[in-house]
Symmetry: C2
Subunit: 355 residues, 2 copies
């Protein structure tokens, strides 16, 4: 089995190194090949998603991705900026299903900005569509307006769109995820304003009939943003489009107070996937050896489970992470009173030992 | 001075009644005329925004609005649903600037789902553009896709768009609001993905040069959704488009835990405005006399300040509300230990007494 390892920028290389050590310690024989991506891709080959990197990602059975982005690329043209790499990989590899768990680990309840009784035990899953919506809808651009409020003015425009098969396939992923959990699925849209959302809601409702064991509800995105703050534990699985999912999955991660702990998976229809931490490249702490590698290590566990058919090894890693938390090891981002502050490498070592 | 009073549905009539009493107690001579809107408009005249109601709103110097919506209208065609009234008023009256304060009152810190140290003293202002964006952008509809991932499939689509003058006018409102506060403005967009946002950011930056005393920053909407949870007090004024503003202003209100306290203003370029509580019509508690009228009373204060040139009367009302909170009066939504639970009318009476 071949894994493409794409460390990227900022803390990416540091956290990926620990996840690779953990994978190597499992006693399986993975072929791992590393390639530059994001700012690193631009530096090495003049493009955030170099051809060779894309080729490797296509050939591999799974992709382990660090993080991309740094302020130093802010002045580049948009098509050369680091984040285009992740958009490109999602698109070219048809990774349409993003699974983002938001979990509050018992040992880390204090790290949240929310009250313990609101957040303790939180375990929700956000399923975000990744290949459609206003991210990729054409036409888009800058033009002279011919109608609207100020005809003749320069305007920016983008197209939001979802077709029935696009909504159907993400619906199936979400309903099936809900079946394996508490059988409640909340579909989030803005169907009181958007035509795209009306179609979305219609299709979700129709596909829901194939899953009578799952309780489907619908919620407007503004209300969802509120309910996540007010009573996040009321959710089980949430399914939504690319744009709303971008916003809500980040909001949900931050509720836990420990975004440095949260993995994510982006899957195609055959469960080939890209696995990355939910947090970003954190250029401000890059190279200092203090970043939390656990989200990346947990992403490797998700990879074993979803793409490589090694659920037991995934369980082993997850149990090891639980153990190091119980042992009191903490990186700076999740530091709580009375615990032992460790760096990136020490945290990786602790997980290896716990395996 | 003429005030159009539009109570609407659910708890709307109850909370509006208290605000009207407060206005009447000021010793000013306002002409107030009431008209049906939302579900009530549909019941009375077959349309959520009946012609006479719109005419009254146009003639008036300001509009005091309750809330619209009820589950019983869920099966109506979209153009007949209650929320079309509010969209129609915003559009027909060119109310492009929505001001949504998110304030955590000292007495109500406990009501928040966030920890007291995160939320105590919160006072941020969200400025949301209301006339443009994907809310009103054409074309939109349901059609057969000719390109994209599934050509030939049925798809829903909407158009996000902002022209330069639209961004300019909301930018001026936001910068001027920031000048009267802590002189920090955060513009929220998704310019790493959207062309509309690129134009937005460009114009914000350009207009910013006219306000050298205001510190302008830019933030992606996903990050803003996170920072609001993590450290909301880091914000002063936030400016954003219609769709992102819908989501973020609701998220921000809910952070305070007392959305029943938060007013809002929607202004045109001459400071004529519509004033409404940030919360909804709450059909589940309608008619029970338990709704919190304070957001509506505070909306009336905003109306006096922004549209009617009566800042002193606005201050009087706001001081009276502070006083009833200090006296320990609470409706159910903001009930905290040791305080006196009162109903809608009693709360209105308490404010009248405190005036
Ligand atoms: C970097 C950016 C384009 C990306 C997105 O908006 O999808 C990121 O925010 C994410 O959620 O993975
Ligand atoms: C009712 C709905 C159309 C409206 C909106 O989305 O603007 C509401 O959520 C609001 O924020 O006032």
């Amino acid at each position: 089995m071949k894994i493409a390892v794409l460390p990227g920028d900022g803390i990416g290389p540091e956290i990926i190194a620990e996840a690779v050590k953990v994978l190597n310690a499992l006693g399986e024989s993975f072929e791992m090949e590393t390639a530059p991506v994001g700012g690193a891709g631009y530096e090495a080959k003049g493009h955030p998603l170099p051809e060779d990197t894309l080729k490797l990602a296509k050939e591999a059975d799974a992709i382990l991705f660090g993080a991309v982005g740094d302020w130093k690329y802010d002045t580049l043209a948009r098509e050369l900026r680091p984040e285009q790499a992740i958009l490109g990989l999602r698109k070219h590899l048809s990774l349409f299903a993003n699974l983002r768990p938001a979990i509050c680990y018992p040992e880390l309840t204090e790290a949240s900005s929310l009250k313990p009784e609101i957040i303790a035990g939180l375990n929700i899953l956000i399923v975000r569509e990744l290949n459609g919506d206003i991210y990729f809808g054409s036409p888009k651009g800058i033009r002279t307006a011919t109608d609207g409020l100020f005809p003749g003015a320069r305007e920016g425009f983008d197209t939001m769109r979802y077709s029935e098969p696009e909504v159907e396939r993400i619906a199936h992923v979400a309903f099936q995820a809900a079946q394996k959990r508490h059988k409640r699925l909340c579909s989030v849209d803005k169907s009181n304003v958007l035509e795209t959302s009306q179609l979305w809601r219609e299709v979700m409702t129709r596909i829901g009939q194939e899953y009578p064991d799952v309780e489907l509800s619908h919620m407007y995105v503004d209300n969802a943003a509120m309910q996540l703050v007010k009573a996040p534990k009321a959710f089980d699985v949430v399914v939504t489009g690319n744009l709303f999912g971008d916003i809500l999955s980040d909001e949900a991660s931050m509720l836990t107070g420990s975004i440095g702990m949260l993995p994510s998976a982006s899957l195609d229809k055959n469960n080939k996937g890209l696995y990355e931490p939910s947090h970003g490249s954190a250029p401000d702490i890059a190279g200092k050896g203090i970043a939390n590698p656990l989200a990346t290590i947990l992403s490797a566990a998700m990879m074993l489970r979803y793409s490589l058919g090694k659920a037991e090894q995934a369980n082993r890693i997850e149990a090891a992470v639980q153990k190091v938390l119980a042992q009191g090891y903490r990186t700076g981002d999740i530091k709580t009173a009375g615990c032992q502050l460790v760096g990136t490498k020490e945290m990786g070592e602790a997980v290896l030992k716990a395996l």
